[in-house]
Structures are given as structure tokens and as C-alpha cells.
Symmetry: C2
Subunit: 127 residues, 2 copies
């Protein structure tokens, strides 16, 4: 299967698939003309990557997860550890964004937002 069909299959842009090959994640075979040729195994990995990236795992996390995916004897604890660390990171980001939102929301509400120059948002930033 050529790259554009693989792209449709796994839901990733062809550019991204080539990039994943560049960084050694999924390396398909090649046809005589030099075209990439994806088999079912490659497609599985690409779909795996698409899902894992969609869940916000870093590419390096994905690299490890992929190797664990391919290791039939891996310990589930290894996988769980990566996922838990990522989960904690997400929780942290959510809390940070919520705090930002609260501050910003207060500022936006306090600003009448008309043609007059007085602006509590700018005043706060400049304080």
C-alpha cells in the first residue's frame, strides 16, 4: 500500500508518516521504484501512533509505548507507569489553565470593553 492510502487508513497526513519514518518509528519496505510500501504491520503501528499521539503522549513516549506494544512479554506496569506520568502531567496542565482562566476571566469581566481608554486589563498587566 502506498503512502497516501496508508495516510487515509491511519488518519495521519503523509508528511507526518514520512516524518515518523525519519525518526525511526515506522519503516515500511520499498518497491522497486523507490515508493514506500506499507503492510498490515506498518499500518497497525501507524494507527497505534495516531491514537497515542491523540491522547497527548509525546513522540518519545510513543516510541517506548510502541516497543512495549511489540514486546509480547512486557510488564503492564511499565506501560501503566508511562500513562500515569502523562496523566499527572495533564492534571497539572489542567490546574494551571484553570488558574489562568480564573484570572483572565476576572479581568475580562471587569473591562467594559468600549471606546474609552480606561482598561482594567492593561492596568493589571502594567501594575
Amino acid at each position: 500500500m502506498n503512502i497516501s492510502d496508508a495516510a487515509i487508513e491511519c488518519g495521519l497526513p503523509a508528511k507526518t508518516i514520512r516524518y515518523y519514518e525519519d525518526i525511526g518509528l515506522v519503516s515500511p519496505g520499498r518497491l522497486a521504484n523507490g515508493y514506500r510500501d506499507y503492510d498490515e504491520d506498518d499500518l497497525h503501528k501507524l494507527r497505534f501512533l495516531q491514537r497515542a499521539r491523540g491522547l497527548g503522549f509525546s513522540v518519545e513516549d510513543c516510541r517506548v509505548l510502541l516497543s512495549l506494544y511489540e514486546d509480547r512479554n512486557r510488564a503492564s506496569g511499565d506501560v501503566r507507569k508511562i500513562a500515569k506520568t502523562h496523566l499527572d502531567e495533564i492534571e497539572r496542565k489542567i490546574a494551571e489553565l484553570q488558574s489562568l482562566r480564573d484570572t483572565l476571566s476576572d479581568l475580562v469581566q471587569s473591562c467594559h470593553g468600549d471606546d474609552r481608554p480606561n482598561c482594567p486589563i492593561i492596568n493589571d498587566l502594567a501594575r
Copy 2:
């Protein structure tokens, strides 16, 4: 005032301050020896940037906010619009992260995380 004192004053690393000068945000005067020399006006702007970046505004947003800050006749509506757009973006990110968290949290909880190979997280990613 030289750059390292300015860095202490505004709470930004010297590297970042130089970077802000590179991209045209805050351009201090120079002493005879070529050293940067920050005056009160420069420091105000740097503090402004530090606060605005801390609230998650992009550098380009900061550029606009800074020009509005310097424009005594700006309409508060202009400022409010930028802040509101940013706020909406933050809300969107929070919702996205919360959805990720829910999915990931379920996966982590369903994985016993021991030495055995069976792993619901990997299974889900590979499905």
C-alpha cells in the same frame, strides 16, 4: 541598569530579555562599551511582558498589548477582544485536556500494572 539587574527586576532570564529585543519588543539604549542599559520605561515594558506571558498570551498578542499599553487613547474594547479570544482558547484547551484525562484515567485504572504482560492500555491503543 545592566541586563542581569534588569532580569532580576522583571523576573525574566537575561536570555529571554535579549530575545525580546531581537524580535523588537523592548530595545534599551546602549552604553559606550556596548552594554545594554535599561531605564524605567524599559523595565515597565519587561514587567508587562512577564505578566502577560505568564497569563499565557502569545508573544504576538503581547506585541499588540504592549502597543495598546503605550497608546493612551486606545479603546478598552481592543484590549478586551484580545483577552476574550485568549480566554476562549484557554477554555477550549481545558475542555480538551479534561476529555483526555477522562480517557487516560479510565485506562490507567483498568490496568493492574504488575509484571504480567496483559495491558488494557496497550490493547486500547492497538485496537
